[in-house]
């Protein structure tokens, strides 16, 4: 048996064992009125979408606060308040994991650029233009585009131009850990259910330091509610840091401008000074040894 067919079997077994988490409640499982469909009768998710929450600041409920550098950023950098996207008031962390989350928050702007993996010990990955992972990519304040084919669905996020294929047929076990994880999808009625594993443990959920490890397992449910919005729900588990699985949910809206398109956010050049200046390897254009 080759590795690929093993992967399919493993994925199938996981589907059977986990049952893809809880089912969404409400009328969404049946054919929804006004939902566009593809040639094969599935809901047509093609398009540019965006969510509008403050969850990228903190997925838990949070007040408005001054920003990270109020002395120079003023209201530009301030954090808006928001009710969060989690079910309940708090993520069910194990006690020691709460301490780690608080440490993450304290060190969210402390970047440490080394040429070994200890560079991932500190600093919000977003600050450093690293891939945001799942589910964070879905609630960052940037649009994303869904490209839907029968056997694969591709999501391209404007932030960092991060992309993520969803494998419907064939499915496959994650061949290697990654930032965006490995996504296998299937349709349950009108809901696209995506099982995401194979994370590398470096991603955060938000700027507040909420995090998981490489044992993170996310089951997403994308359910159209009409032509121009869908409900996103994700069940999140990681026995290393959480006492039980927990859920997030929020609506995602279609961008309706007639010629809307993603506008590149290739943020690498925006973080080079932050990351390489402390090493003496960056001089702003036209200055210092780089002036030529």
């Amino acid at each position: 048996m080759n590795i690929r067919s093993t992967g399919v079997l493993v994925a199938a077994a996981l589907v059977a064992a986990v049952g893809f988490g809880c089912r969404a409640s409400g009328p969404a499982d049946g054919p929804s009125a006004g939902v566009a469909r593809t040639e094969d009768g599935k809901p047509n998710l093609n398009g540019i979408w965006q969510s509008f929450t403050t969850a990228n600041w903190n997925i838990e409920p949070h007040s408005a606060e001054a920003g990270l550098r109020p002395e120079i950023m003023g209201a530009y950098g301030a954090q808006p308040g928001g009710q969060g996207i989690i079910e309940g008031d708090a993520i069910p962390y194990k006690p020691e994991a709460v301490a780690k989350r608080d440490e993450n928050f304290k060190n969210r702007m402390i970047t440490k650029i080394t040429n070994d993996p200890s560079r991932f010990d500190s600093g919000d990955p977003e600050l450093q233009c690293f891939r945001p992972g799942v589910p964070r990519a879905n609630y960052m304040p940037f649009p994303f585009q869904i490209f839907q084919d029968v056997n694969q669905i591709l999501i391209v996020y404007e932030y960092k131009w991060a992309m993520r294929p969803i494998h419907i047929d064939p499915q496959m076990e994650a061949p290697v850990d990654s930032w965006m994880g490995w996504s296998n999808g299937k349709w349950e009625g009108d809901t696209l259910v995506v099982d995401v594993r194979g994370f590398n443990g470096h991603t955060w959920f938000d700027r507040a330091g909420n995090y998981a490890t490489d044992a993170l397992h996310v089951v997403e449910r994308w359910t159209p509610q009409g032509p121009n919005h869908l409900q996103y729900e994700a069940t999140i588990e990681d026995p290393n840091v959480f006492t039980r699985p927990w859920k997030i949910s929020f609506p995602v809206y279609r961008r309706l401008e007639p010629t809307v398109q993603l506008v590149e956010f290739n943020c690498v050049p925006f973080v080079e000074q932050l990351m390489y200046d402390p090493l003496g390897l960056y001089f702003p254009p036209g200055t210092g040894p780089d002036r030529d």
């Binding site: 040639e39 992309m163 960056y282 040894p289 030529d292």
Partner: protein
């Protein structure tokens, strides 16, 4: 199939373990797709590649299947690596095409050169990780250069403006400080801003594990993804993505500039024609050959056989060349139909080492030691 995945995983492990000192290390993301080849027998693999090229050349007027929504079906992962050089070597002037025997001989020579890597640049067995192009499925070609127009197979003469740019850049390089940083000693590839196929896709072969500018065979896959109204190109290298709308919409405002340009596509029979404008000034950058942000790129994708995509592109930049030029190559289709994450910037350990290493070499050169390394990246 299993071995392809295994090789990819090995590639990732290698990337994770290495903190070596050269740009090419960054190219050690997994090689996404590999056809079934006899990896133990170079001659058999070369023969198979030659037979595939011959088989496809004999197939005339192939009509690809259609997608469910009626577009020509170009879907799949294709290999962009080739040993055919962009420009015709001077010794082959007036010889645009090889005979079949000559083509196989030239391919074999390139394969052998590719297997020999400079130990100062690569400190492991290049072949063991399938990072030489032939193991990825590159095929012999009758063309002696990718450039088919101008007919001499060479880039057109530079405009006076471009000549001056080049002279200024060369003069600046001579007096540059060895303490310079990433903006001088890095390029868009080593800085993880753009991958090796960010447009145009095929750059031409310079086999061997030379600098980023030359390594045509690593992570040289593109996935062509189709959905109603769009063709989307995902490159294995740096996971660059080019989203191509087919609905005839105008380009974005001239004020908006993209690293990947602003592409618009249309069907010309079974050929996908993509016109890309609105580039950022991305010099020095691989594949741009020193062009400016005025570059106008027209690409033509034609699936000429079940397993072969013909890829032709024309580059026009009146600020750089005195005339447009056109290159043509073939991209073999490879399996499996998926790519892997290429998190380049996230673990760009190479950036630190490349720049520090270059600073050391520059100081050595300044004190009369060994010559300074060439700055990678192609272009000015």
């Amino acid at each position: 199939m299993g071995s392809a995945i295994l090789r990819s995983v090995l590639g990732v492990m290698l990337a994770a373990m290495s903190a070596a000192s050269v740009a090419v290390v960054m190219a050690q993301a997994p090689s996404g797709a590999t056809p079934t080849l006899n990896l133990d027998n170079t001659d058999a693999a070369i023969k198979a590649a030659a037979d595939a090229a011959k088989r496809d050349a004999a197939l005339k007027n192939y009509a690809p299947p259609r997608t469910a929504w009626g577009d020509p079906d170009l879907r799949g992962v294709y290999l962009t690596a080739t040993y055919t050089p962009l420009q015709r070597p001077p010794e082959l002037a007036n010889k645009p095409l090889y005979t079949e025997e000559e083509a196989v001989a030239a391919f074999k020579k390139a394969v052998e050169a590719d297997a020999e890597v400079d130990p100062r640049t690569v400190h492991y067995d290049w072949k063991e990780y399938s990072m030489d192009a032939w193991q990825g499925g590159a095929r012999p070609s009758l063309q002696t250069s990718l450039i088919i127009d101008p007919p001499d197979g060479r880039l057109p003469p530079l405009t006076p403006e471009a000549q001056e740019r080049r002279q200024l850049a060369a003069a600046a390089a001579k007096k540059r400080s060895p303490a310079a940083g990433i903006l001088t000693f890095g390029n868009t590839y080593t800085r993880c801003i753009l991958g090796l196929g960010a447009g145009p896709l095929v750059r031409g072969g310079n086999p061997g594990a030379d600098s980023a500018a030359a390594a045509a065979g690593v992570t040289a896959e593109v996935q062509i993804f189709q959905s109603p109204g769009y063709v989307t190109l995902v490159m294995q290298s740096n996971n660059d993505v080019r989203i191509i709308p087919l609905d005839g919409r105008p380009h974005v405002s001239d004020k908006i500039r993209h690293w990947y340009g602003d592409p618009r596509g249309r069907w010309d029979g079974n050929t996908l024609v993509v016109e890309t404008t609105n580039w950022k000034d991305r010099r020095p950058s691989v594949n741009f050959q020193g062009a400016t942000d005025a570059m106008h790129l027209v690409e033509r994708f034609t699936r000429i056989a079940p397993e072969t995509m013909q890829y032709e592109y024309t580059m026009t930049d009146p600020k750089t060349w005195t005339s447009p030029w056109t290159a043509r190559g073939e991209m073999p289709r490879v399996e499996p139909n998926l790519l892997y994450e290429f998190a380049c910037h996230e673990q760009n350990y190479g950036m630190i080492n490349v720049v520090r290493g270059t600073q050391i070499r520059e100081r050595e050169a300044a004190s009369g030691g060994r010559p300074a390394p060439q700055r990678g990246g192609g272009g000015e």
